[in-house]
C-alpha cells in the first residue's frame, strides 16, 4: 500500500542568484507503509534535502508530494507544521537534543503544543524510556549521555506523538558499528510495530542491513537505482 508519492520533485537553493544550486533534479518515486526504506548516496547526493521535503521541513521548488491522499507540498506553513507534528518523527544526524534539559524533558518537547494532561504525557514518556532502557537516565541532563544513549533519547522523542512515519537522517554517523547494528534492530522492532521508516545513510551497516526492505540510491539529486 502506497503512503508517500513524489512526482517530479525538484529543489533549488539560492534560486535566481549566481550561486543557484539544484539539490534535487526531478525525482518521481513512491514509499510504502510498514517498510524500512533507505536512501543511499554519497555526501551531496540530495538525501537530506529529499528527506526534509518529505518530512514537511521544507517545500519543493517544483513537483508534488502526496501523503496518502493529500498533497502536502503546497500546504502553507501552519498546516505543514500540523502534518509534521502528527505524522512524522525525526531522528537527526547529530541527535539535536537540547542541552541543559533532562532526558525526559527532551523527549516530551514535541508534545508540549498538544497541551496533553501532564500525567498522561509523563506516563507516555516513561513507557518509551522503559522500552528503550533509559528509565534510570530520565532526569539526567542530556550532556551526560553516551552516543548510543543520546540516539535512543532521540528515538523516544521522535515517537512521543506516536507518528506514523519515522525519518532518520544519517542516524549512525556518530555511532560505532556495534551501536549502529543495535540501532538497526530497534528500527526493525518499530517497523514490526507498524511504523514506516525512511532512513538516509551512506553507511553499509545501514543499507546492507537485512532489516532494510528497499534501498533507493541517489546521485546528484536523481534516483539512480531502486525506483519504486
Amino acid at each position: 500500500m502506497m503512503l508517500i508519492e513524489l512526482t517530479d520533485v525538484r529543489k533549488a537553493f539560492n534560486q535566481g542568484k549566481p550561486n543557484e544550486f539544484w539539490a534535487i533534479q526531478g525525482i518521481t518515486t513512491q514509499f510504502e507503509v510498514n517498510r524500512i526504506t533507505c536512501l543511499k548516496g554519497a555526501s551531496g547526493s540530495g538525501k537530506t534535502t529529499l528527506m526534509s521535503m518529505i518530512g514537511c521541513l521544507s517545500r519543493p521548488t517544483s513537483g508534488r508530494i502526496r501523503l496518502q491522499d493529500r498533497t502536502i507540498s503546497s500546504l502553507p506553513e501552519r498546516f505543514l507544521t500540523q502534518v509534521r507534528r502528527h505524522t512524522f518523527g525525526f531522528i537527526f544526524q547529530r541527535f539535536n537534543l537540547i542541552p541543559g534539559l533532562s532526558v525526559v524533558e527532551n523527549i516530551m518537547l514535541p508534545a508540549y503544543p498538544l497541551g496533553l494532561k501532564a500525567s498522561c504525557l509523563r506516563s507516555r514518556a516513561d513507557r518509551l524510556l522503559e522500552q528503550f532502557l533509559l528509565a534510570d537516565k530520565a532526569s539526567n541532563p542530556v550532556e551526560w549521555l553516551s552516543g548510543g544513549e543520546a540516539q535512543r533519547v532521540a528515538i523516544c522523542r521522535a515517537l512521543i506523538n506516536d507518528p506514523q512515519i519515522l525519518i532518520a537522517d544519517e542516524p549512525t554517523a556518530n555511532l560505532d558499528s556495534r551501536l549502529s547494528r543495535e540501532f538497526m534492530s530497534l528500527l526493525d522492532q518499530l517497523s514490526k510495530a507498524g511504523k514506516t521508516v525512511l532512513i538516509s545513510s551512506h553507511d553499509p551497516v545501514v543499507f546492507d542491513s537485512p532489516v532494510v526492505d528497499r534501498v533507493v540510491e541517489l546521485e546528484d539529486g536523481l534516483v539512480v537505482s531502486g525506483e519504486g
Partner: protein
C-alpha cells in the same frame, strides 16, 4: 480551553527552564533591568510624593498671604495694615502671623518657628514636630533651650508633639506663644511676619488680590494656587533634571537589552530550529519567547518598583535626596507619606515592559519563519 491553558503552562515551564539554562545571561539582564526600573521609579515616586506633600501642606493654609515688600525685599508687616485692609467683601477672616526660622547649631538643623494662638500656650510652652523631637531626643515634659536675638538662653517645656498627615508640614515645626516668639526674636508688638486672608469663594480670590494691591501698594499678595503651581513646577523640574541624568543609563540599558534580547546566538537559533522541526508552530516558538520577555521584564518591574517604594518611603530616598529635596528641607529629616500615582505607574510599565517584550519577539519571528530544515544540516 483546559488544553490551551496546559499548553501555556508547558511553554512557561519550558521558558523558565531555558532561562535557568542561561543563568548568567538572565540574571545579568534582570539585575540591570531592575536597577533601571528602580532608579526611574524612585524619581517618579519621590517627585509625586513631594507634590502630594505640598498639596497636603497647603490644604489648610489660607487662600491669600500678604507680605510687605520694601526695596524688593520682604519685610515685617505693620499691624495697622489689618485696619487699612478694612472690610473686603468675600474675606471671611484676616489675621497677622508670626513665623520664621531658627537655626539650632547643636544639631545643625533649621526649625520653622510659628506663633500659635489656637493652642493656648503659656509663654514657656512649646509644641514641636516629630523631626525636632527625633533630632533633639525630646519627649513631652522635656525642656528645649533656645538662644534669643540678644544671646539670652530661654528654656521651653515641650507640651506635646505635633501629629499630622504629612510629616513635611510638621517635622521641623515649633509652635510657641506669640509673646514668647516676640521675646525670642525681638519683634515689636506692632509688627507681623505676614498677614493671611481666608476667602470662601475661590472665584473671588483674584479680585480680592487686586483690591489689596490698590489698598496697600507696598504689599505682595500670594495666592495658594500660585504656591501650589510653584511647588508643582519645582518638583517637576527636579524630576526632569534627575531623569536627564538617568537618561544616559537608560540609553545604555536600551542598547544592552536590545542586544541581549534581539541578538539570537547560534545556539538559540538552532534551538528554535529543533523546536520547529519536532512540530512547534512559529506562533508557539514566539509565544515561548514572549513568555521569556514577559517573565524577565515583569520580574524586573515588580522588584525594581518595590525596591523604589521602599527606598523612597522607608529610607527617604537616600540616593536622590540631595538633588530632589533641595537644601531647605534637608534638616531635620522626615518620612514621606506613601502615595502612588496610577497613571505614572502605568506609564512606567508601558515604557519598560512592552518595548522589551517586543524586542524579544521580533528576532524570533525572523528566525522562526525560516524553514526548519536547517537543523538537518
Amino acid at each position: 480551553m483546559i488544553a490551551l491553558l496546559r499548553k501555556q503552562r508547558y511553554f512557561i515551564d519550558y521558558t523558565l527552564g531555558t532561562m535557568m539554562r542561561h543563568k548568567g545571561k538572565s540574571l545579568g539582564l534582570l539585575t540591570v533591568y531592575t536597577i533601571i526600573i528602580f532608579m526611574l521609579a524612585s524619581v517618579m515616586l519621590f517627585s509625586h510624593a513631594m507634590r502630594s506633600e505640598a498639596v497636603a501642606l497647603l490644604a489648610d493654609s489660607p487662600e491669600i498671604v500678604v507680605q510687605r515688600i520694601q526695596a524688593g525685599r520682604s519685610v515685617m508687616v505693620p499691624a495697622d495694615y489689618l485696619q487699612r485692609i478694612g472690610k473686603l467683601r468675600g474675606v471671611t477672616e484676616k489675621r497677622g502671623r508670626l513665623w520664621g526660622y531658627y537655626y539650632d547649631p547643636a544639631v545643625k538643623a533649621n526649625y520653622t518657628v510659628m506663633a500659635s494662638e489656637q493652642d493656648q500656650l503659656s509663654i514657656n510652652d512649646i509644641v514641636i514636630g516629630e523631626g525636632i523631637a527625633r533630632t533633639r531626643g525630646l519627649s513631652i515634659g522635656d525642656y528645649l533651650t533656645l538662644r534669643s536675638h540678644e544671646g539670652k538662653a530661654f528654656s521651653f517645656r515641650v507640651l506635646r508633639l505635633l501629629e499630622s498627615e504629612s510629616e513635611l508640614i510638621s517635622s521641623d515645626l515649633l509652635l510657641m506663644n506669640p509673646e514668647g516668639y516676640r521675646r525670642l526674636f525681638g519683634i515689636d508688638e506692632s509688627l507681623y511676619t505676614d498677614l493671611v486672608l481666608s476667602v470662601r469663594n475661590p472665584r473671588e480670590i483674584q479680585k480680592i488680590a487686586e483690591k489689596l494691591t490698590l489698598l496697600l501698594p507696598d504689599s505682595r499678595p500670594i495666592l495658594r494656587t500660585e504656591i501650589l503651581r510653584t511647588y508643582e513646577s519645582l518638583f517637576s523640574w527636579r524630576q526632569g533634571v534627575m531623569l536627564i541624568l538617568l537618561l544616559g543609563s537608560v540609553l545604555a540599558f536600551v542598547i544592552f537589552a536590545w542586544d541581549k534580547a534581539s541578538g539570537l546566538s547560534a545556539e538559540e537559533r538552532k534551538e528554535i530550529g529543533i523546536l520547529k522541526a519536532v512540530g512547534w508552530e512559529t506562533s508557539e516558538v514566539m509565544r515561548m519567547k514572549f513568555w521569556e520577555g514577559v517573565i524577565i521584564s515583569l520580574m524586573a518591574f515588580l522588584i525594581g518598583y518595590l525596591a523604589a517604594y521602599l527606598h523612597v518611603f522607608y529610607t527617604s530616598a537616600g540616593l536622590f535626596e540631595p538633588v530632589l529635596k533641595g537644601w531647605s528641607v534637608l534638616y531635620p529629616s522626615f518620612q514621606l507619606t506613601p502615595s502612588v500615582d496610577g497613571l505614572q505607574l502605568a506609564t512606567l510599565f508601558f515604557f519598560t515592559v512592552l518595548p522589551y517584550t517586543l524586542a524579544t519577539i521580533v528576532p524570533v519571528w525572523q528566525t522562526s519563519i525560516t524553514d526548519p530544515d536547517l537543523v538537518m544540516r
